[in-house]
């Protein structure tokens, strides 16, 4: 990153990607991105990073672990196996 603006705008990029940045900040970032290829890479790969994690399958709480939880809490009579 070379321009003074790169460093200046870096702190606002997550809010920009989440749609939470103010209109003023969005305009400033977009003006800068139009002129700065390196920052475009940072923004694109930052967005891709978040998307990749969003797309990861969620770890499952397994059926045996669920049964052990009920037993540990002395609630085994309320355990209903999932079909």
């Amino acid at each position: 990153m070379e321009h003074h603006d790169c460093r200046h705008l870096l702190g606002d990029l997550s809010e920009y990607l989440d749609g939470d940045a103010s209109a003023l900040v969005c305009a400033e970032i977009e003006r800068h991105l139009a002129d700065c290829a390196k920052c475009r890479v940072v923004v694109d790969t930052l967005r891709k990073t978040v998307l990749l994690y969003h797309d990861q399958p969620k770890p499952e709480f397994s059926e045996p672990a669920r049964a052990r939880l009920y037993r540990a809490l002395d609630l085994q009579n309320f355990f209903v196996p999932k079909s």
Binding site: L10, T45, T49, L52, P59, A65, L69, F78
Partner: protein, 200 residues
Amino acid sequence: MSDHATDQALSERIRAGDKSACAECIEIHSPAIYRLALRMLGDETEAEDVTQETFLNAFKSIDSFEWRAGLQTWLHRIAYNNVLMRLRKPRRETVSVEDLAENEGLIETPRQLLDWCCLPEAEYATTEARAELARALNELPEKLRAVFVLRDLEGHSTEETATILAISTVAVKTRLHRARLALREQLADYFSEMTHPQES
């Protein structure tokens, strides 16, 4: 019934010793509690232990439940405290929780400036790529990982995350941004090599 009303009704039944209410609470909340513990600790057995401890602690201290925060947030806060106790055991070799406090507001300048967004989608979904995503997450300092897991993986709001972690909303936003930038650097090391084998 609103979420708050549901939480209040469920907590009152648990307080009154209704075991079916405890079972309902487990059914609703245990998968997310387990995921938080697993993503923070990286170990299935420990995550299961934390899940058990969390519900034991919660049912014992249901009188102190602050229903305004919501049952889910309260349970996550208990779980996070249980996670922290395990992370602070000396046998773990992770970035110190204290190290981060001194650099709380520091945003590091991006080092990786190669574009790796152009790979075929299948390349991002391989077993190896998924392992890389998990490794990068595990290498984040604990405070950054907690915010990223709660905000980006579990979808909690900034305010809920701040309540669970007992930090300000400003700290949540700063840590989330730092976490994303750090993950981007880690993933760039891996994916840039596939996109630009000579340059990275």
